[in-house]
Symmetry: C2
């Protein structure tokens, strides 16, 4: 696949052509946000911004694409010419990758001609939904692993090539320490890791010969897969022989991997065998359809596992494979004035937050513990007390006065007149940000099951604007 | 992303380097197969072969890739040189795309130097697992739609760019009629389809103005989204006004789309309004988190829906987001002789089928209804009666004599000495094959819930070989 600019729903082109034909050169502002956290968690780890910005910066149409669109006989020559000479003319603000974010918070805000902003919807959502989904799952899994290294190795079960490679990137953002995916490792500078497959063992007359050959070739990287035949009667004893030979030759044995059977019992017995053989430093890696639930169960049973390898359940976020991020119009500039827009719905949950906004994380002065977020109109100044209401549409709209806080804005300029080129942090920096920003959250919010809801507020001004627009709509409806 | 050859687990490179260093130039044969059908279905629609073959035909390493691999300090210069001058030297047989296939059937068989075959594992599985998963889900959804056109429009919720685009291809193979994804439509010649988003409506002062403008620009393609404000009191009445104006000007109104609320009730009421207005030809399209279960429920209630638009539940196969296809060594050529190989396991379900095989679909003479499949050793001749046992490891191994059949081999040469270039069928041909091959299956096998298991057999020769290899292994183990 070449040009991501064509990764767009047809109706985006149709609407863009519509704006062109209607000579509508209004400027609109769109927000990317989500309403529900996967796996009943309380937050999402925001990821994918770098690829989203790359896609915007490289947005263009090649001649074959223009010819293809012309062949649809839907669009005007003027519009096709506009696409052929496409010049990005929008401003983008966004929350940095690796930030824990909450429902309804504007993650990315893009302002520009409706014609352009409409064209980016599908592509931005595809990239941000995917990477945020996987980063969020990786956070859950690494949280369950309680500091033990977690390796991502789901490439073979990922939903296509870019799902594997950008999924590996997102897994690192969410807390994984390495990936088996060499393409991701090369592209993003991620540590590459891996052992061997059962086929290596089967390609030799017996398991011991296969292990010995591996030890010869990788004397300092000998991690051995011990479950091809039988873990305890064959795999571990053979591994111990090879580790002893390596030790005798001055090398440091690395570990064993168990990929089938009852991991808890096998790990305990294997640990005993390794320790009895004087190999306490040999690590045990567990794999085989693990996820956060299984990891927590294994550790609760006291399984002596040092590292986890996670495949399909992470790279597809199998228990919750969709993050339903949306892209909604919040304001249109009409004769120089911003007019706030709202998407009306019978369900309060689907009402959008109008106008251009900023989201702030709130800390007590001198503390690095966050106690809530507040979504505000962009031009509000949050220096003194704020009257606020809960952002959740399910909560009663009881007003609270927030006092004694430091409000740190989360959205930062990404592509603006003052910042025309986005300088992305590198992946280790993003990964570190995730850990730092997680450390600021209350422990109860980070629990995997039934987490405490983190407090997200709307300023009274924003809440009032929403109420006013809903009322205005219903009055108008009544008049008709 | 550029070169898919790097989309490989690190251990594949490590094993390949191992074979190189061990001067092991043995030829091995690997099978791709799966054990479990997603969604408790009884079969999978095989898809992705064209992209898998493309990846093999284009397999190569660029200088930066070689430099990256060198920088890992794991591999020998000899091996890196081998990669740099990589020359594909394998033979591939496979079942054509669009074929319904069953657990344990060898879908693709690749024979070649272990060093090479090992390198392809991750990439082949990634592509075939993904597309087969989505094609299988699309079959379920289009089956539920009972002949009504189904449009794929999940790009924004797909797991990354290639998940969207190759997923759209697979959805077409599984029976969808169109996609919203313009990249997929362009690349694969799929009909592109779409209406408008709520943002188009919101960008105008009111819904009627937005519809009228759309009708002006697309007089012959006016499909209108009617749920931005209120479907029955606003959306449909406004759509009717515009359709009438279009009719008066000699154009044919297309349809409306309902994307929220209770689809069954809304569709019924909207149909009445449209019919009462003399617009019986205007189609109703339903969308909003639909899948096969919801579609069956809607149709059972008599919802007058003409077309379905399916997003996230299809493009991620949300209810079962993983097809766990595997890649297993089945034979190694040693001194000119093929030695069958088996992966031993305590679970009969995980025992592999040894040796190089072919799979046949069985028909009664003169009938186009298939009554079973049989997996045989490649050199067996299936002309007269066959003694066979059930392939399912859960079934008792009662022998059956299969008589009076025509056995059609499913695997065909894809890349062999006689067929050095793969000529892929085009997508409509593959889609048609799916429909033809589905028509051959018993109705009870195609049921979505609790389908009847289709009969898949092993020839007695194959079953005996498996038993013999298991016994040999256990005897050897006993001796130790």
């Amino acid at each position: 696949m070449s040009n991501l600019s064509m990764l767009t729903d047809l109706y985006e082109f149709s609407m863009a052509n519509g704006y062109y034909e209607a000579a509508n050169d209004e400027v609109g502002s769109f927000d990317v946000f989500f309403r529900k956290v996967p796996d009943q968690g309380s937050f999402v780890i925001f990821a994918g911004l770098q690829q989203a910005v790359d896609a915007l910066e490289n947005f263009h149409f090649d001649q074959p694409d223009i010819d293809y669109l012309r062949g649809l006989h839907l669009y005007s020559e003027g519009f096709l010419d506009y696409l052929q000479h496409f010049k990005f003319d929008c401003e983008v603000w966004a929350i940095p990758e690796g930030t824990p974010v909450f429902p309804r918070e504007p993650l990315l805000t893009i302002k520009g001609p409706l014609l352009q902003t409409q064209l980016f919807e599908t592509l931005l959502l595809n990239i941000l939904n995917h990477q945020s989904l996987i980063a969020t799952k990786a956070r859950r899994i690494t949280y369950a692993a309680e500091g033990r290294p977690v390796m991502e190795f789901g490439a073979r079960r990922a939903q296509g090539p870019s799902s594997a490679t950008y999924g590996a990137r997102a897994a690192i953002i969410g807390g994984c320490t390495s990936t088996s995916n060499v393409q991701a490792a090369e592209l993003f500078g991620i540590p590459a890791a891996g052992t061997m497959a059962h086929s290596w063992i089967e390609a030799f007359p017996d398991e011991l010969t296969a292990f010995e050959k591996w030890g010869e070739i990788y004397p300092d990287n000998a991690a051995l897969l011990v479950d091809t035949y039988d873990v305890l009667s064959s795999g571990v004893p053979n591994a111990i022989k090879v580790f002893k030979e390596l030790q005798a030759a001055g090398h440091k044995p690395v570990g064993i991997r168990i990929d089938s059977g009852d991991i808890a019992q096998l790990a305990k017995a294997a640990r005993q065998q390794l320790d009895a053989a004087g190999l306490p430093e040999v690590k045990i890696t567990a794999s085989n359809s693990l996820d956060e639930t299984v990891i927590q169960a294994l550790l609760k049973e006291g399984a002596p596992i040092d590292n986890f390898g996670i495949g399909e359940k992470l790279i597809t976020s199998a228990s919750a494979p969709v993050l339903s991020g949306v892209y909604k119009l919040t304001a249109v500039q009409s004769q120089g004035q911003w007019v706030p827009k709202i998407k009306i719905s019978d369900s309060t949950e689907k009402l959008t937050l109008p106008s251009i906004k900023q989201v702030y994380r709130l800390y007590r002065p001198g503390s690095d513990q966050a106690f809530g977020d507040v979504i505000a109109l962009k031009d509000e100044v949050l220096t003194s007390d704020i009257t606020a209401v809960p952002a959740s549409p399910l909560a009663t709209k009881r007003q609270t006065v927030l006092k004694d806080f430091v409000a740190v804005p989360l959205q930062q300029p990404v592509l603006t007149q003052d910042h025309p080129d986005y300088v992305a942090p590198n992946l280790p920096e993003i990964q570190q940000r995730t850990q730092e920003k997680l450390a600021e959250l209350p422990a109860a919010t980070k629990r995997l099951v039934n987490p405490d809801e983190y407090r997200v507020y709307l300023t009274k001004s924003l809440a009032d604007l929403q109420t006013e627009l809903v009322q205005k709509y219903h009055e108008k409806e009544h008049v008709q």
